[in-house]
Structure formats: C-alpha cells, structure tokens
Amino acid sequence: MAAIELEGLTKRFGDVVAVDGLDLTVEEGEIFGFLGPNGAGKSTTIDILLDFIRPTGGTATVLGYDAQSEGLAVRNRIGVLPDAYHVYDRLTGRQHVEFAIEMKGVDEDPDALLERVRVADAADRKAGGYSKGMRQRLILAMALVGDPELLILDEPSTGLDPNGAREMREIIRAENDRGTTVFFSSHIMEQVEAVCDRVAIIDDGHLVAVDTIDGLRDATEVGETLYVYVSALDDSVLERVRTLEGVGTAAIDDGRLRVTVDGVSKFAVLHAIDEITAVQDFSVVESSLEDLFVRYTNDRQEVEA
C-alpha cells in the first residue's frame, strides 16, 4: 500500500489552476521531498491531502483512505506541520501539546515531546510570545504525538536557523528509522537533498520530475565539480585524467582543469591528478542540484513563455 497516492489531482480556484493533473505515489517508509518554487502548488496539494480544500478533479489517497471521504481515518494516522498556520497566542506550549494528545486520544508525556524538539524551557510560556523557530518546533511536537505512520511537513525549516534546520532533519531521520513515512515540502533544494530518498519537483501545478537524488544527478550529469590548477595542463594530461576512476567528465576551462566527481571522494581524485601533474590549488563547486532545480523550473517557464 502506498502512503500517498495522487491520481489526476486537479484544483482550480476560479480561472487559476493551482494543481493540474498531478499523479504521484509515495511509498511507505520513504522520506519524500516535495520540491518547487513558491506558488508552484505544493501547499495546495498538501491542503488537499489534509482535506482543508477540496479538489476539482482526481483523487488523493492517504494510507489507503480517501482524503476527502475518509479524512478522519487519515488524520488519525498522520502527524502534520501545516503551512501558514497560527498558534493559539494565549495558550502555553504545554497546553498546545496536551491538546494534541487529548485530540489523538493517546497517553503521552507532553514534557518529553517538548524536550525532544527543544522547547521544554518555554513549556509554560504563552505560545504567542514564541519566535517563529520555536513555534515551528512546537507544532512539530504536536505532529509527533501518537507516533504517526506518516508525517506531512509543509516547509518544516521555515524560520529555523541552520542549527534548528539540522535538528529538524535529525528528527525526520529518527522518525523514519522508526518506520514513519515522511512527506515534506520545501522550496530549498539543499534541505531536501540532505534527507530525502526520493524527490518530486513541481512547477506551476505540474510535476516536472520524480526521482532519487542520485537519479536526478545522473539524469542531468550534475555532480560535484572540482576546479584544479595544475603545473602542466595539455591534452595528454586531460586524456589521462579522464581515465581516472571516479571522474565523470574532465575539461580544460579557463586555464584550469574542470573535473566532475562521481562515486569516489574528491580527495582520491585530487590525489590521482597530483600523481599525473602537480596540483597547485583547487576549488569545489558544491552540488549543482540547486542549478538543476532552477533549470527544471525555469525551462518550463521558458517553454510556456
């Protein structure tokens, strides 16, 4: 059984088509990243999964239950961190978690959950005074109540500092290790890249790619790129570099050697190059999946323009 199954999902708001014929399957047990620029239809899709809004066409099935007609069964089995939510300003952090515990009909310790997301210190303060990052942690604690089978997180790292974003990823991984399927959306590639098994890229209501991170890399020949300054650079050196293990492509670029690295450590490649010709200096251009993301979402706009 799939954790999430969308078939021809469509949502129109008047003349605007927010989501257009989306087909997507998220398997149980995976961490799935739902990626797209702002306004691409990510939140609309998630809002349909949660039955906040009703589709104008197609179906959405969550854990085998229809999101519209069996919404209660769905919400009994999932934990949610919604987008554009608002906390109850006059209730404390602990009261928020207690409320989720009562609504889910489970017996859990609110303080332990607050400890886990690191807002235990502020448990007795009113949530209206929380920072954006603290609110995000608080709602995550509410989502974790009852050990859900599926976590749906809409832009989970919004408002979190780098440390907070890392802790969020750690919690996502830990939950996944316990067998929880995680579906989360983001408009930032690197957050998705760090934890996801598979990624879907959505743009302008359409699905433009669904693959593993590696699959996306392979499909577009983007990996890590090394720029290496060497003492002697000519075609024969280039030929020998090309044959090295773990080198995807190699080229001469502006007096430097441009090498894409695939499957081995950058250090191993550098070391091998150094044996051919002395390495003087080098720089690394981090994963260009971000570029890939930009390319996927811009190509489409150019095609349509």
Binding site: F52, N76, Y85, R90
Partner: protein, 290 residues
Amino acid sequence: MTWTAVAKKDFRDAVQSRALWALVGVFVVLSVLSTYAYVEAPALLGAATEATFGGLIFFTIGLVGLFVPLSAIVVCYKSLAGERELGSIKLLLSLPTTRGQVFVGKVVGRATVLAFGLGVGLVVGLGVGAALIGDLEAVALVVFVLATLSFVAVYATIVVGLSATTGSTSRATTLALGFFVVFELLWDAIPMGILYVLEGFSIPSTMPDWLYPLLQLSPSAAYFSSVVALLPNLADAANAESGQSGAGAQAAADAADPFYTSPEIGIAILLLWLLVPLAVGYYRFDASDL
C-alpha cells in the same frame, strides 16, 4: 468525541480574553446599579408598589436581553472566521477530528465562556437585589437562570454559526452586527411596517394574530416570552406583558386565541434559533475551502 477537547481548549483560550473580562465587569456594575435603582426607586418616588424578587427578575430580563446579544458578538464573532483568517484552524483540523466536531466544540466552548461571565454578573446583581429586598424565590431563580443559560446557548450558536459561514473576520463582524441591528434593534418596527403596508398604509385598531409570533422572532423577545411562559404567576404579579418589548403588541394570550399567540411560542422560537444557525453554519463550514 473530540468536540469536548475542542470546547475545553476554546474555553481556556477565550476565558483569557481581556475583552471578555471588561464585559463581565461592565455587566456586574450595570447589574448592581440597575438592581439598586429598581429596589430603591419606588420608595424614593413614593410609589405604592413594593419591589419584589419576582419583579426584579423581570426587570433583569431587559438587561440580559441587551447584554447577551452584545457579549455574544464580542465573544463569538471571531470563533471560526478568526481561526480561518489567522490559520490556527489548520492546527485544529490537522488533528483527528471533523469540521462538525470543531463547530459543535466551538459553540459549546464559547457558550460556556458567555454563561460563565453572565453567571458572575447575575449572581452578584440578583444577590444584591435579594439582600436589599430581603426575599428570594428559589424556584423562580432556578427557572430564570436555566432559561437565561438557554438564551446564552442560543445566542452563542447564532454568532458562531454566522462566523462559520466566512473566512474573514470583517465579514463576520458585519454579519453579527447586522443580525443585532435587524433582529434586536429594528425588529419591533419591521413587522409593524409590514402590517402598516398590508393594511393600506394605516395602523389598524386591533392587531392581527400573526403579528405576535412575528414579533417573537427577535431572540430576546422570544427569551422574554419564554420566561413569562415558564413563570406565569410571577409574570402576572410583576405585570409583565409578554411582548412588551414589541411596540403596541397587545395581542395578549386569551384561552380562545390560536396557540401561536401564547408566550410558549417563545420557547419554540428559541429552539428554532438554536437549530437553524447550527444547520446553516455547519453546511457552509463543511463545504468551504479553508
């Protein structure tokens, strides 16, 4: 049943509202002042009639009839529209519940808040009155309090129901105030206006039977009639004519009159005001995109 959890959370939240406590403060002061005025005024004016506890109850109805609609608007107008506008409804509806449960929980939570605030005011006001008069009619008091709590529940349902139809608090405000203006401020005049037109632009000397139930459509008029129907002896003693709030509606209930001209119609109308907003509010809330 998650509506109890929703109601509890809502009560916890709303009971911390400063506006609510300002309202309770105003009601306590008004209640004490008007009670004092009711008890002391006849003596000061040298009137023959003595202030009675029953009379005080009917006197208090007027105050409650104004206070409950206004405080219901203040406490309830944002109940659902506000949560939708802000987005906190997403937290609520991400949890294992349904929109119906949330709606009912909101009604119960807000009605409890209102009843709590009003209860404080009534206990203080009627307590002072009973001490001044030196009399307390326990049965009448219990009946009055129960009728008043029902009235509170009805008004909470009306305003929460209106709030459920929209995702904008400004629209919810307009709807709630509009309801108040039409059904509380202008309602005496509207049926009379209809009658005036129907009778060829003149006011007839005897009022037709249908005028009375129409006048009772105002929730506070229905509340007044309900108390008259439930406490007929006190009403006679206090000389309270049901529908007195209706200008010139002297269609007093005679034995031979149709059923709908008796004050019991007020109870039926209150019931209607409970069920119709529930149905309309739920229907609109359940069908909407949040």
